[in-house]
C-alpha cells in the first residue's frame, strides 16, 4: 500500500515534466520538484553551477475552476465568504480570489497529498496525533463538501450549505470547527474545517502568483509590504511607517502600466 501510493505520486511528478532521459531533464528544466524523484548525482571538485537554472515557484495560470465541480464551487464560494467576509476594512476571501487559489491548489501537488504520508492502516487517533485521514486534501474536500450538503439537506431544511442564511452558515461552521457536528461518509468534519480555514488564509495572504490575494489587497489591509528584499535603512527608524509600496514576485501594477 505504501509503495503504491508513492508510485502514483512519482508517476504524476514525472508525467508533469515530459521526461526523456531523467538526468538530463532535471539538469535543464527551470522548475523541478526539489525534493523527491531527482536523479542521483556525484558532486566533486567545485560547486555545481548551471546558467539560468532556478527552482522558481510554480505560478498558476488560466481562469475558471479545473478541480471543483459547479456544485462544489458554490459551497466553496459560500464558505469562503463566511470565513473572511468582505467589507470596507478589506477584501473578503471571495473578493481576494481565494476560491480560485483553492481550486488550483487542489488540482496540483498539494491536492494530491504530495507531502502527506497516506499509507495504512488508518485507525482513529488521539487529537494530539493530528491528521489521520486516508484522504489526500483533494479527496477530503470532495468528500467533505458532499457530506456537508447532504447533512444540511437532511437536517437543516435547506438544499445545500450555500442556501442557508449567513447566520445559519456561521452556526454550522462553528459546529464543524468544534467537532460537535458529525458528518456522514466517514468524513472528519473538524479536520476538514481546519484545512479549509488554513488554506483560505493561505490564499488570502500568499503571493498573487498562486491565484489569490488579488491586487495584494489583503497585504495592503494589514500593512505588509510584500516581497521586499532589503529593510536595512529602516531597522533603526523606530515607530515610523515604512513607505514602501506593496510588491509581489511579479512586481506591482505601477511597474507595468503603459
Amino acid at each position: 500500500m505504501v509503495s503504491k501510493v508513492n508510485l502514483q505520486r512519482r508517476q504524476l511528478l514525472v508525467g508533469g515534466v515530459a521526461v526523456g532521459v531523467a538526468g538530463a531533464a532535471a539538469a535543464t528544466t527551470a522548475v523541478h520538484d526539489g525534493e523527491l524523484g531527482a536523479p542521483p548525482r556525484t558532486i566533486r571538485g567545485s560547486v555545481p553551477w548551471q546558467e539560468g537554472a532556478a527552482d522558481s515557484p510554480p505560478a498558476v495560470s488560466g481562469s475558471g475552476y479545473v478541480y471543483f465541480t459547479p456544485v462544489e464551487a458554490v459551497f466553496i464560494e459560500a464558505a469562503a465568504a463566511r470565513l473572511i467576509p468582505n467589507d470596507e476594512v478589506g477584501p473578503g476571501a471571495v473578493e481576494a480570489n481565494v476560491p480560485f487559489f483553492l481550486d488550483r491548489q487542489l488540482a496540483g501537488p498539494f491536492g494530491r497529498g504530495d507531502h502527506y504520508y497516506l499509507g495504512g492502516p488508518w485507525p482513529k487517533g488521539t487529537p494530539q496525533q493530528g491528521y489521520q485521514s486516508r484522504f489526500n486534501p483533494a479527496q477530503l474536500y470532495r468528500a467533505a463538501i458532499a457530506a456537508i450538503d447532504q447533512y444540511v439537506s437532511a437536517n437543516l431544511g435547506a438544499g445545500s450549505f450555500a442556501r442557508l442564511a449567513a447566520q445559519d452558515q456561521d452556526k454550522f461552521l462553528k459546529q464543524l470547527e468544534s467537532g460537535d457536528l458529525k458528518l456522514g461518509g466517514g468524513v472528519d468534519g473538524k479536520a476538514f474545517f481546519a484545512m479549509l480555514l488554513q488554506n483560505t488564509r493561505e490564499g488570502y495572504f500568499s503571493d498573487p502568483i498562486y491565484g489569490g490575494n488579488k491586487d495584494m489587497a489583503a497585504w495592503k489591509m494589514i500593512g505588509f509590504p510584500g516581497a521586499h528584499y532589503n529593510y536595512k535603512d529602516w531597522v533603526s527608524r523606530h515607530g515610523e511607517r515604512v513607505p514602501f509600496p506593496t510588491v509581489g514576485f511579479k512586481g506591482r501594477p505601477g511597474w507595468t502600466e503603459a
Partner: protein, 589 residues
C-alpha cells in the same frame, strides 16, 4: 544485490551541519571522505535566490525545503498505552533534507549551553536534593563533558559562522551589554550584534526596568560582512524577514552552503553523493566493527560503501533509527529502564506572550531569524529553584523573525479564528503587535523514548521510527513559571493588552513548536548509561561516531545547533589527534 564500491577512510551519513563540519575536518587531515545525502543538491543561487526566496506559501506551508514525509515518516504517541500512528504531515517540527538540510532553513540562533547544563544531575542534586532530579520519573544525567572542554569548539563554530553578538563573560570578566550568565568565552564574538528593531528595543528597556539583564541574541545572521577562516564570505543581513524556515538568498545566514561547502568541494579527497539513502550500517560478524554502509539511490540501485569510519551525521531521528535498524547497541526498554539506544528522547518546552499596542508601529516584517533582545535570568540554574518544584528554565526573547502574514498575525485574547471579527483584529493589530518567545528546557523522563514501530514501514520496507513523548510535570511547572516571568516584562512594555499562550496539555504533533529534537543516542561516562562517549564515539562499535543532538542526555533551554557543532568539532579533534594514530576506543569503559 548491492554493488561493492572502493573503500574510503570515512563515510558521512547525511550532509547538513555536522556532515559538512566533519567532512572539512577529516579531509583537511588527509582522509578520503564520501558523503551520502538522501535529499537533493541545493545551492543559494538556484534554490532560494532573492527573486523568489520570500515565498511563505511554498517554503513554510508547502514544505518545499523540508523532508517529504510521503514515503518516510515516523509514528507518534504520547505514552506507551497508546497506539502510535504516523505523523502524516509535518507540524510540530520541520525536518530538513537535502544538502545543508536544517542548516539551510534554521534561524541562525547560536547558543552555548550553561556550564551547569552539562551537570544537570549532579549540580541540581547537590543544590536541591535527590528528589529534584529523580521526581516526575525524570531520568536526567550528566553529559560526561564539561563546558570548559567544549569552549574551544564553540569558539571554532563562532568563527566559522561569523556569529554576531556581544560577549557577557570574557575569560571570567563580566562584560556590559552581553549575557552575564553565560560561561566564560575565550574571545569576543567575531562580529558585533545586530541593531535591534523597535519591538526588541522596547522589550529590552522593559526588562532592564525590572532589573533583568537584556542582551542582543547571538546570531548567525550577519550584522556586517564577514570572511571566515575557510575563506567563505558572508554579506550583511538585509532583514527581509524570511529566514527561519527559509533559505537565505543573500549569503547572510551561516549555513553549510555559505561557510563550508565551497571550500570542501574543491578538495580532491572529498566526494558528495546526493539522492543516496543509507539503509543500514554493516558490521563484522563479532559486531564490534563497522565495515561500511549499504545505501540505495533514487534510481533504486543498491551499493555497499566500505569505510574505515562511519560518521552518522543525519538528523537525530535518522541517526537513532539507523542504530536501531542496524542492531547496534541495546534498545531502551521503558518498563525495565534497561538498554540505551532510544533512551532519553527530549524536546523543547515552548510558550509565548503576545503584546498589543495602540500607539506604536512595530513593522514586524523587518526581521531576521535571530533578531531578538533576550533575558537569560531564568534559564538553567541562573536563579534559585528552591520551593519552585522544578529544575531547568528558559530564555525569554523579544523576537522578530519576520511578519509573514499566514503564520504570524497575532490577535487579542478571545478573538475568533475567522469571520469579520478576526479580519478586523488582523487589520488592526498586525503592525502593532509583538511576541515574546519562552524557549524552555525539556528534562528527559522514563516514558519518553524512540524505538522501531511494529506496524508502519517506509518505502524501503524498513520499520519507521516510533516516538513516544509527552511533557513531564517538571516541564509544565517550569513553563508556567517562565511564562509568568515573560508576562511581567510584557506588561512593563505598557501595551494595550497582552495574551498568554501557555504550554498546556499533552504534546500535540500539529502546531509548530521547534525542530529541536534531542536524545536517543545519548552521551555519558560509561556504556551502561549512554550510547556514545564524550567524543560521540559508539561504546559498542568504536569506528562509528554519532553526531548531533541525539547525544544530549536532556535538552537545555537553548537552541541546540551551537552545542551540536561544538560536539562535532570536539569529536573531529579527538579523531585527528588520537583515533587516527590508534583506531579504537577513545575512552576506556
Amino acid at each position: 544485490m548491492a554493488t561493492n564500491l572502493n573503500p574510503v577512510d570515512a563515510v558521512l551519513v547525511g550532509f547538513g551541519w555536522t556532515g559538512a563540519i566533519m567532512g572539512q575536518q577529516l579531509c583537511d587531515a588527509g582522509l578520503n571522505v564520501v558523503a551520502l545525502e538522501r535529499g537533493p543538491w541545493r545551492d543559494t543561487a538556484t534554490d532560494f535566490a532573492p527573486g523568489f526566496a520570500q515565498d511563505e506559501l511554498r517554503y513554510m506551508w508547502r514544505h518545499h525545503l523540508f523532508q517529504n514525509v510521503s514515503d518516510d515518516t515516523l509514528t507518534i504517541r504520547n505514552n506507551v498505552n497508546q497506539e502510535a500512528l504516523p505523523m502524516r504531515h509535518l507540524g510540530s517540527f520541520l525536518l530538513g533534507t537535502g544538502v545543508g538540510s536544517g542548516g539551510v532553513h534554521w534561524n541562525g540562533q547560536i547558543w552555548r549551553f550553561l556550564p551547569t547544563d552539562f551537570l544537570t544531575k549532579s549540580h541540581n542534586e547537590k543544590r536541591y536534593g535527590r528528589k529534584a532530579v529523580s521526581g516526575y520519573d525524570m531520568t536526567v544525567q550528566d553529559w560526561g563533558v564539561t563546558y570548559d572542554e567544549l569552549e574551544p569548539h564553540y569558539d571554532q563554530f563562532d568563527k566559522l559562522c561569523g556569529t554576531s553578538g556581544k560577549a557577557g563573560n570574557l575569560q571570567g570578566k563580566i562584560q556590559p551589554g552581553g549575557n552575564p550568565f553565560e560561561g566564560p568565552r575565550a574571545n569576543e564574538f567575531p562580529t558585533p550584534p545586530m541593531p535591534q528593531t523597535y519591538g526588541p528595543t522596547l522589550f529590552g528597556k522593559a526588562a532592564a526596568e525590572l532589573g533583568r539583564h537584556p542582551f542582543p541574541h547571538p546570531t548567525g545572521n550577519m550584522s556586517q560582512a564577514y570572511t571566515n577562516p575557510l575563506g567563505a564570505q558572508l554579506g550583511a543581513c538585509t532583514y527581509c524577514g524570511f529566514c527561519e524556515k527559509f533559505g537565505c538568498g543573500n549569503y547572510s545566514k551561516a549555513s553549510p552552503q555559505t561557510t563550508i561547502i565551497p571550500y570542501l568541494l574543491r578538495k580532491s579527497n572529498f566526494t558528495l553523493k546526493t539522492e543516496c539513502e543509507v539503509l543500514r550500517i554493516e558490521l563484522t560478524q563479532d559486531r564490534k566493527r563497522a565495515t561500511g554502509v549499504t545505501y540505495v539511490n533514487s534510481a533504486g540501485e543498491e551499493f555497499f560503501q566500505p569505510a574505515e569510519m562511519v560518521i552518522l551525521s543525519a538528523y537525530v531521528l535518522h541517526n537513532v533509527r539507523l542504530l536501531l535498524l542496524s542492531g547496534i547497541g541495546k534498545p531502551y526498554d521503558p518498563k525495565t529502564g534497561e538498554g540505551v539506544v532510544g533512551k532519553n528522547y527530549a524536546y523543547q518546552t515552548m510558550s509565548s506572550v503576545n503584546v498589543f499596542f495602540d500607539d506604536k508601529i512595530l513593522n514586524p516584517f523587518i526581521g531576521a531569524g535571530a533578531l531578538a533582545t533576550v533575558i537569560d535570568d531564568f534559564n538553567g540554574d541562573n536563579f534559585d529553584h528552591h520551593g519552585l518544584g522544578f529544575i531547568g528554565g528558559a530564555y525569554i526573547a523579544g523576537m522578530v523573525t519576520g511578519g509573514r502574514p499566514i503564520e504570524m498575525i497575532y490577535t487579542p485574547e478571545g478573538t475568533p479564528k475567522w469571520g469579520l471579527e478576526w479580519k478586523h483584529a488582523a487589520a488592526k493589530n498586525y503592525l502593532r503587535s509583538f511576541s515574546l518567545s519562552i524557549h524552555g528546557s525539556c528534562m528527559s523522563a522514563r516514558g519518553n523514548y524512540l524505538d522501531l514501530d511494529p506496524t508502519y514501514r517506509d518505502i524501503h520496507g524498513r520499520p519507521m521510527l516510533r516516538m513516544t513523548f509527552d511533557f513531564s510535570e517538571n516541564d509544565h511547572k517550569m513553563s508556567d513559571y517562565l511564562t509568568d516571568r515573560a508576562a511581567e516584562v510584557a506588561k512593563a512594555m505598557n501595551p494595550r493588552e497582552i495574551k498568554l499562550n501557555r504550554r498546556t496539555g499533552s504534546w500535540d504533533v500539529t502546531p509548530y513548536q521547534t525542530t529541536h529534537n534531542t536524545g536517543g543516542a545519548i552521551m555519558g561516562d560509561n556504556p551502561k548509561n549512554s550510547v556514545v562517549n564524550k567524543y560521540l564515539q559508539l561504546w559498542d562499535v568504536p569506528n562509528v561516531f554519532s553526531m548531533g543532538s541525539g547525544a544530549f542526555p536532556q535538552n537545555a533551554g537553548y537552541n541546540p545547533t551551537g552545542t551540536v557543532a561544538a560536539l562535532a568539532y570536539m569529536s573531529a579533534a579527538a579523531i585527528k589527534s588520537q583515533y587516527l594514530k590508534s583506531p579504537g576506543p577513545l575512552v576506556r569503559a
